[in-house]
């Protein structure tokens, strides 16, 4: 029996995740572009790590970090009396971490594609760095940022490994589409699993198709 709750939850988690991912990705790409520090290459590799590490490893690391006994988990309990393990916040956290490299890489490539002379021209016309960023850098890198955003959304929608480690599979609370597929299959309910497979496939296909269509129109 297909329930819509995992579908709605998946969209909700992915939507909130991409908000975080957008700001974190743009901020880190901008800072990394502006600074020249020793160890920059190492930091860059660290940012890309969630893309290449198995999601379950990301989940394990997050569990160690934000779990009840983890350093962040202890702080959260002590100062805010809150716990994020096995909550929707954990699903958002997992989604944010695994999709961050996609946003970061897309933004970085978009920034690299900008003619630096245009930013210099804005500076010589009296613009502050903030104004240069909003009126030149962002508008010119917009197609790349949208790509990053859409890919991150699609990635978060399909997130399984890290999510199950820290958000668990609580129907109605933390069960997203991929988790629903896994547990329906495990309990031999292939019809439900198949329906979820169709739903998530159509959803992600539409997103990517929409992106490509938009890109085709803007170029």
């Amino acid at each position: 029996m297909v329930e819509w709750q995992p579908v709605i939850l998946s969209i909700k988690v992915a939507s909130i995740s991409v908000l975080f991912v957008f700001f974190l990705g743009v901020l880190s790409a901008y800072v990394m572009r502006s600074i020249d520090i020793p160890g920059k290459a190492a930091l860059e590799s660290f940012f890309t790590l969630p893309l290449v590490l198995p999601p379950v490893v990301i989940g394990f690391l997050l569990l160690v970090l934000v779990g009840k006994q983890g350093p962040v988990g202890i702080l959260l309990t002590k100062y805010f009396n809150m716990q994020i393990i096995f909550t929707q916040s954990a699903a958002v956290l997992a989604g944010t971490v695994v999709s961050f490299p996609l946003m970061y890489q897309s933004t970085k490539a978009a920034f690299e594609g900008i003619d630096k002379t245009l930013e210099d021209a804005a500076r010589t016309l009296g613009a502050s760095e903030w104004r240069v960023f909003w009126t030149v850098t962002i508008p010119l890198s917009w197609p790349g940022l949208v790509s990053g955003l859409v890919l991150s959304f699609a990635r978060t929608l399909g997130e399984f490994g890290a999510t199950i480690m820290i958000a668990g599979n609580i129907p109605g609370k933390t069960q997203t589409i991929p988790l629903a597929i896994y547990f329906a299959t495990e309990s031999n309910d292939l019809v439900t699993a198949g329906m979820y497979v169709i739903i998530i496939s159509v959803l992600t296909f539409s997103i990517i198709f929409g992106l490509n269509h938009w890109k085709g129109k803007t170029h």
Partner: protein, 234 residues
């Protein structure tokens, strides 16, 4: 009046230059890679010299002794880049208005004056890709002057244009300099451009000022026939 006295180590040589630019057109002439653009970038604040000073009227743009390095936005120096660097996502009008701090009646009057002088009244709503090379040059000029600069830097301003536009714009540049009466510092490797526009010419070779013009100065485009108009400058 602008006084420049700077040193900067570049990959192949050390730029070491000292000059004063009055309210006229000063040409920095030299072959590609002799440090001309670096000088402009240092004046604009886009690059930091290793030592020395850059002073415009009484404003210290850069001083290694006083550890002063004003950011480009505080220098009031407009820079016309070689490829014009017009913002492709804005129309002509938005490009021209970009450097205006307060949208006053005075700014509107200046805008009207500039687009009339530069003969671009018909272009305000065009996008940049719709412009020809000559039109881009005029729009870039309008944008640079609209910011009401104390100094205007021009990097090979006519090199991207065809002969007809180049000829027209040379005259317009001269006219604009007379009206604005601020230092125009122009870099070029074209003797023709230097001779047509410069009230004063500084010859550069590997980052240093040289007293003798390089052989290319006496040649025309094919590098064979001696030029006849250079005496004008001596």
């Amino acid at each position: 009046m602008l006084t420049v006295d700077i040193k900067k180590k570049l990959s192949d040589f050390t730029l070491d230059i000292s000059f004063t630019a009055p309210n006229k057109t000063l040409v920095l002439f030299g072959p590609s890679g002799c440090g001309k653009t670096t000088i402009l970038r240092c004046i604009a604040g886009l690059m930091k010299p290793d030592e020395g000073s850059i002073v415009s009227n009484k404003t210290v743009f850069y001083s290694s002794k006083a550890a002063t390095h004003l950011p480009p936005r505080s220098r009031n120096v407009s820079y016309m880049f070689q490829d014009f660097a017009l913002f492709p996502h804005m129309n002509v009008k938005h490009n021209i208005w970009y450097g205006v701090k307060t949208h006053s009646q005075q700014a509107t009057d200046l805008y009207e004056k500039l687009i009339t002088l530069l003969k671009i009244e018909h272009l305000p709503h065009r996008t940049i890709v719709q412009l020809s090379g000559g039109e881009k040059q005029r729009v870039a000029m309008a944008r640079a002057l609209m910011a009401e600069p104390q100094i205007l830097l021009l990097d090979e301003p006519l090199s991207a244009l065809d002969a007809q536009s180049r000829y027209e714009l040379q005259d317009e540049l001269k006219k604009l300099q007379e009206i604005w009466n601020i230092p125009f510092i122009l870099v070029t490797h074209s003797p023709e451009e230097a001779q047509a526009l410069g009230s004063e010419v500084i010859f550069l070779h590997q980052g240093q000022q040289v007293s003798e013009p390089p052989p290319s100065w006496y040649m025309n485009g094919n590098g064979k026939t001696p030029r006849s108009s250079f005496q004008y400058f001596y």
